[in-house]
Structure formats: C-alpha cells, structure tokens
C-alpha cells in the first residue's frame, strides 16, 4: 500500500531524511517512533503530498506522490501534528466543507456525517461551533474529517499529542475500530507504548535514518538479550542488592522504593538458579519477575543504546 524507496529530503545543508526505505502492506498499522526532529513529520508530509522529496520515490497505492498527487490525495486521510479548525463553523458544517472539498455529493454527506460523528463520539456536538470543543474533541473531529472520503490510508501525525489520559484512551479505541475496518494506518505517537497491542509493525527513525523496522515482537525479542528482573524482598533489600551485584550474569543492579531492578544476561535456567540462590540466602522474596519491556524501552534501547529501565 505504501512504498518508499531511497527517500531523501534536504533543507539546505541539513539532511532531514537520508535514504529511507519502507514498505507497508495493506491493512497494516504502522507505528513510527523517533525523537522530535528525527524526520517522522517530514516523511508523513511527503506522503501527504505537502512536500517534495529531494530524491527517491514514495508511492501510495501505486501512485507516486510527486507525479500523481491528486490520486494520492484521494487515497489518504492526513492528520497533521498541529492543526487548526475554522472556529466560525459548526461541527457538521466543518465536515460538510471537507466532504464537499473531496467532491462528495451533498446527499451522501447528509448520511455520512452522522455516522462519522457517531464513530468519534461527537454525535451530541453536531450543532455547536467548533470553537467551543475541547482539545480532545477537536482531535477526534479532525480524525472524522480524515475519514470523510473513506481513504484507504490514514496518515496520523501525533494524533494523541496534548491529550489527557482519558482522551487518549478514547482515541485509541477509535483507532482500534479503524484497524478493524481494514484501513492502512501510519501513526507517529508518543502514546506508542499504549498502542503496542494494535500496532503491527514499527519503524524507528533517528536523525533522518531508519534505525530499526519490523514486527513489534521481533524487535522486542531481538533486543531482549538483557532481561530486567524485578525483585522485591520482605526486608534487607539493600543487602540483597549488594549481594546480587556480585553474581555472574548480573550486569547492573538498581534499587528504588519499588524494589530491585536486576539487569540479567542469563536465560530461563539461570533465572531459576538465581531465584533459588536468593531463597537459599534466606531472604523472604515477595515477588520475582521479568519486567515488561514495552515499546518505549525498545525505543530507548535502539536510539540510545542504553539499558532499558
């Protein structure tokens, strides 16, 4: 569905994108991860036909973004990271405007708009001025706007930025629904850890280069050479931490008020032996488990090369 080959973008002397290659099959939800200024928004702008690449090819559904922008626009719903709304329009008028801009006949829009408002939980706000909506509602309205022409691809640049936790959860639920509808979704987000369960693939971008790319599970397992074990003892935790430090497979020990975090290089067998050892030392262990590495850890691991804590 989306095919990017050797894509580069240069601003003067600054390389915003360096030789990006990316293929996203139809129906995939692709998470774009990277620090600010890494090139996520640039890539998305190029896919949205708002920016021309310096070199390379980007295709959406077989149409080159520079050669057939009009065809590409028909197939994408783009939500920029920062966007405004026309304050003096009412919610339905706002959607009518964009619907008309996509050449959707009025009769069809009349049917479509209530459905879209239903999807993004704004049915009760259909007759209020866009100005009076909260940030999260505007974000959802913008998402409804992206969907009005039933695009195959959704390009969502930070759709949850600036949202409170409740609004983020609502956004996530909507995205899940969209995934079930079979949309191909590219999403860059700070809430990627939250999205982990619905993202099929991720691409990690840093300094304009793809650092890692693939299925979430693959990347996670590839990186999980070092486990983090979380240990809690009834008492004498500091003493235990000091003793664990000297163990062979342990690379680092950090302790805080939640317990002891042990960076452990061994496999399952060594892990069992470590637990037996701790018990044999006479410590009362409350819990001993492998800490969940989430996408955020993966991201930190890849971009900084540091330990995932």
């Amino acid at each position: 569905m989306i095919d990017i080959q050797h894509l580069s973008k240069r601003y003067g002397n600054f390389d915003a994108l360096k030789d990006i290659n990316l293929y996203i099959p139809e129906g995939t939800v692709f998470g774009f991860v990277g620090p600010n200024g890494a090139g996520k928004s640039t890539t998305m702008s190029i896919l949205a036909t708002l920016m021309l690449p310096t070199s390379g090819i980007a295709k959406v559904d077989g149409f080159d973004v520079t050669q057939h922008p009009k065809e590409v626009r028909k197939r994408i719903g783009y939500m920029p990271d920062f966007f405004g709304v026309y304050d003096q329009l009412k919610t339905t008028e706002y959607l009518h405007f964009y619907g008309a801009s996509y050449n959707i006949p009025r009769g069809e829009r009349e049917k479509l708009i209530p459905q879209l408002l239903e999807l993004v939980n704004l049915s009760d706000k259909s007759d209020v001025y866009v100005d009076s909506l909260s940030r999260g509602m505007k974000q959802r309205l913008c998402l409804a706007r992206c969907l009005i022409h039933d695009p195959k691809v959704l390009i969502l640049d930070e759709p949850a930025s600036g949202l409170d936790p409740r609004a983020r959860i609502e956004m996530r639920e909507i995205l899940k629904e969209l995934k079930q509808m079979g949309k191909t979704i590219i999403i860059s987000s700070h809430i990627l850890p939250e999205l982990a369960e619905m993202v099929d693939e991720i691409g990690v971008i840093e300094h304009g280069q793809m650092v890692a790319q693939g299925r979430v599970a693959d990347i996670q397992s590839r990186l999980r050479v070092k486990k983090v074990l979380h240990v809690r003892a009834m008492e004498r935790e500091e003493e235990l931490a000091a003793r664990l430090q000297d163990e062979a497979m342990v690379s680092a020990v950090l302790s805080d008020n939640t317990g002891i975090h042990v960076h452990f290089g061994g496999g399952d067998l060594e892990q069992v032996q470590l637990l037996q050892k701790i018990i044999s030392w006479g410590y009362a262990v409350i819990s001993f488990h492998e800490a969940q590495t989430n996408l955020e850890d993966v991201f930190l691991e890849i971009t900084k090369g540091g330990p995932a804590v």
Partner: protein
C-alpha cells in the same frame, strides 16, 4: 440549488460563511460608509456655507466636484481596504494551521486561490455597492451621467482585483500575514504614489530639455505613459477624456491631435498583465510542484481525471 452548487464551490462557500459570521465585517462596512458619508456631508458643508459668496447654491458644477471628491476618497479607501482583506487569505490559513488539511483535499490550487480572491472581492463589492446611496446625493444636483458612474465603479472593481491579486500573491509567498500585509501596502503605495511622483519629476526634466531644444521636437512625450500607471491618473481620464491628452503633452500646443492612448486604457492593459501574472504565480506556488518529468505528468493527468470523475 443546482445552479448554486455549480457556481459556489466548497472553498467559496466556506469563505462566505466565515466572513459574514464575524462582527468585523459589519463593523468595517459601517465604518467605511461612515467615513465616505462624512466626506460627502463635509463637502456639502464647505461648499454651501464656507463658499466665497456665502450664499452660493449647490449647483450641478458643485455636484460634479463632489462626485470627483467622493470618487477619489473611495479610491483611497479601496487602496487601504484591499490589501488588508486579501493579504491574509493564504498565510492566515497557514498561521491557523488549516492550510495543510485544505491542500490535501481534492480542491485544485486554482480553485483555492481564485475562490479566496473572489470571496474577498465580493465583500469589497458589497461595500462599494453599499456606498451608492451616498453617491445618490450627487444625482440630486446633477452634472454626472449614469454611464460615467458605472464606468467609475467598474474601474474600482479593477483596482480591487489588482490589489487583491497582489495581496493573494504575497500571502502565498510569505509565511507570515504581517509581512504579506506590509509588502502589499508597500506595493500599493508604489502604484499610487510613486508613479505619480515619478511622472511629475520626469515631466519637469523633459519639459526643461524640451524648452531648451529647437521647436521641431514632437509635442507628445513618453512621460504620459508613466501617469497611465497611476490609478488616480486613470480615474481622472475617465472623468475627462481630454486629460489623457494633457498628460502626454509637453506644452499647450496642438490640441487637435489625440493622445496615443487613454490613460485608463493603458492602466487596464498593463495591470491586467500584473493580475494574471500574480494569480498564476500564486497558483503555482501554493502547493509544491514536481519539476522532474512534468511532461509525463501533463500527458497522464487528463486520462486520470476522467477516470476519477467516472468513479464519483
């Protein structure tokens, strides 16, 4: 309903709604008519009560004079209004962060630019039409034909189109509305003031050299063309066709020969090119344009467009 859908595209529809929903529009309309009305009443007051004889009546000559005064005042007001209304149409959307979403829709660049310009012009036309009752005072006294008045209003439309196109152009080229407004005013100032001053300056130089030369030299000079670039000059030539002749003439001489061109004709001709050029550049620059393989794109675009319309 059908005809309106054909003529009013979504961008235009949105622009109309947004413009007429702000109180600013009605306030500016009120302020405009107030200013022009005060000028008209002030003029009547000056002529009637402060005239030389003290008991001068308001005759058709004064009516014509008032028409001129009103027309010039209106021209100046348009020069102030047009850049303010148009220099923010594109950069304003950019600043409000709505432009990128508008650009990813199916609306073509020319639809967006022309609709924006047209909606601004419509509002200005509304204001100009709303001033007509003030002009009707002139008709009470006579001295002006309806034809003249229609010509003047068409001329206003043209000046608005000119300043509007320049405003849209700078709004497209500059990221900030502030910069676009300032540059548009700057260019408007050049058109209104610089051309006039330049005319007077060069005219004085040419006249001096003319009188120092033997009298075989031609009576007409190129200098008149400079005045043709000035809206005020063009406006006067609409009032008094003989003005064009005077503008080209170096001294009171052969009044039988005609001016090479009426000033307003030159004005319309020259600035039509400017209007078309600025709109063309705006349309080209609002979206990034692929330079490579553009021939290839041109060949394929029509085929794609027809298939697209079949779908919808």
């Amino acid at each position: 309903m059908n005809w309106s859908r054909k003529w009013i595209n979504p961008v235009l529809d949105k622009e109309f709604r947004l413009r007429m929903r702000t109180p600013r529009s009605s306030i500016s309309l009120l302020a405009y008519i107030l200013v022009l009305g005060l000028i008209a009443l002030g003029f009547i007051y000056i002529t009637l009560y402060l005239g030389n004889q003290g008991n001068q009546s308001f005759n058709s000559g004064a009516g014509r004079m008032m028409f001129y005064v009103l027309s010039f005042a209106q021209l100046v007001l348009i020069a102030f209004m047009a850049p303010a209304l148009t220099a923010g149409v594109i950069s304003g959307e950019r600043e409000k962060q709505t432009l990128s979403m508008l650009l990813t829709t199916q609306q073509s660049s020319s639809t967006i630019i022309l609709s924006k310009l047209f909606s601004s012009l419509s509002f200005m036309t509304l204001i100009i039409v709303a001033t007509m009752p003030i002009y009707s005072i002139v008709f009470l006294y006579g001295g002006i034909s309806l034809k003249q008045m229609i010509f003047i209003f068409l001329f206003y439309l043209f000046v608005m189109l000119l300043l509007g196109s320049l405003g849209v152009l700078f709004s497209t080229l500059f990221k900030r509305t502030m910069v676009a407004v300032i540059v548009t005013y700057g260019v408007a100032l050049c058109i209104f003031l610089l051309t006039g001053l330049l005319y007077l300056f060069i005219m004085s130089i040419v006249q001096r050299s003319y009188y120092s030369m033997p009298s075989t030299a031609t009576t007409y000079s190129f200098v008149g063309y400079i005045l043709g670039l000035n809206p005020a000059g063009a406006l006067i030539s609409l009032f008094e066709p003989s003005f064009s002749k005077q503008a080209f003439m170096l001294r009171n001489g052969n009044l039988n020969s005609n001016a090479p061109i009426q000033l307003w004709q030159e004005f319309v001709l020259v600035y039509s090119v400017v209007i078309i050029a600025s709109l063309w550049i705006s349309i080209r620059r609002i979206r990034p344009v692929a330079r490579r393989k553009s021939k290839d794109q041109d060949n394929q675009a029509p085929a794609l467009e027809t298939s697209a319309s079949d779908h919808s």
